[in-house]
């Protein structure tokens, strides 16, 4: 049984160390080609900036945080490196899931909790992560992983703050996961 499930597992997911080396090579390619790291939250921010601008042409200028961002991105915040990269992530994730037979519309949750509870916590988690990523100037990809790759002090600090806090709070949220 355990032998069977082990072969099954190795067929389903990449060996994590191999996955890590491949992830590092992708990030290395980003640095070599574009002189920058990977990211995720920045693409969401581009969409947010665009939508705010679309609703009220002047409101971006009245919001200092978005104004600074709009200036840095010229004509349209959607024409940004991270937006193109995140579109690629959706395609790449979909292709990998399709090849491995993992495409399925579902709410993934521990059998001990309901879908509803899982979704409420997913929404809350997203809100916290979105907010924190703006304050911290990037998320796990852009600040922590890419920052560490170029030896940025800030990248290491952000990484330790993210994982340290998640460990510190793990006890309180254990029912959701174990």
């Amino acid at each position: 049984m355990s032998n069977n499930s082990k072969t099954e597992r190795s067929r389903r997911y990449l060996n994590p160390y191999l996955g890590g080396v491949l992830l590092g090579l992708v990030l290395l390619a980003a640095n070599f080609i574009s002189g920058r790291g990977l990211g995720a939250s920045g693409a969401v921010k581009s969409v947010v900036a665009t939508s705010i601008e679309a609703v009220n042409k002047n409101s971006v200028n009245t919001m200092p945080f978005m104004e600074e961002y709009a200036q840095a991105h010229g004509t349209s915040p959607m024409k940004s490196w991270l937006v193109f990269q995140m579109l690629g992530v959706l395609v790449g994730g979909f292709l990998s899931g399709a090849v491995a037979g993992r495409l399925k519309l579902k709410v993934e949750h521990s059998p001990k909790i309901t879908s509803r509870r899982r979704l409420i916590f997913a929404l809350l988690g997203g809100i916290f992560f979105g907010f924190g990523s703006q304050l911290g100037r990037g998320c796990t990809s852009g600040a922590a992983l890419s920052g560490m790759g170029v030896l940025s002090l800030g990248g290491f600090i952000t990484m330790m703050a993210i994982f340290g806090t998640a460990y510190a709070l793990a006890y309180f949220f254990r029912k959701n996961w174990i």
């Binding site: 890590g20 080396v21 992708v26 490196w81 992530v89 997913a122 100037r137």
Partner: protein, 196 residues
């Protein structure tokens, strides 16, 4: 030679096109490593699945060594590569808020897109949350501006701050990672694990 775009070797539009392909590779690696599953990701905080630690640190070490060697061979000018600025206060507070989001939501932004790409509804809802959080920050920015700008140190390298060469720091980080990998393998044997 490198980095290609900042050196003007490829055009801005080519750079965007390549960003799309880099994204495909990024999404593929994340998904095939199991990062589309929140239960697999959250395992790192309870010891039942440590794929996050292994992939994350192996990735960080790979790119760190890759950049050091490419720089040594003269293939890339590291002065033209973006180094994340260090604002100590916002890095800590922002990181703590993200950590709380991680343990609640089981995703980070990149992985939630991977989950959503293969049909995880919890991943899609997490993305909705990301939008709310980012709108929230943008609209309340004046309240956080001081915190956001506090303790700016420029773009220091951690190796410089610790007073060692980049190479020595990379070596130490590899040793630390190997130690963590050993603990991770032990934890996965100790705590029950199933596949999601």
């Amino acid at each position: 030679m490198g980095p290609l775009a900042p050196n003007g070797i490829i055009s801005e539009n080519t750079n965007f096109l390549l960003a799309f392909f880099i994204g495909i590779a990024f999404g593929w690696v994340l998904e095939s490593s199991g990062f589309s599953s929140s239960r697999k990701l959250a395992g790192i905080f309870y010891g039942y699945d440590t794929v996050v630690l292994k992939v994350f640190f192996t990735g960080a070490i790979t790119v760190m060594l890759g950049l050091l060697f490419m720089s040594l061979f003269g293939w890339i000018d590291l002065d033209l590569v973006y180094v994340n600025p260090t604002y100590v206060t916002s890095a800590i507070v922002g990181g703590m808020i993200m950590g709380a989001g991680f343990i609640m939501g089981g995703f980070c932004p990149g992985t939630s897109f991977c989950g959503a790409a293969i049909g995880k509804i919890d991943g899609m809802v997490f993305i909705v949350g990301l939008f709310i959080g980012i709108y929230g920050f943008a609209f309340t920015y004046p309240w956080w501006e001081k915190l956001y700008m506090a303790k700016y140190l420029g773009e220091p390298k951690i190796s410089k701050v610790l007073g060692m060469s980049d190479g020595l720091f990379a070596l130490l980080l590899i040793l630390v990672a190997l130690g963590m990998f050993a603990v991770a393998e032990w934890a996965e044997r100790k705590f029950p694990r199933e596949e999601y």
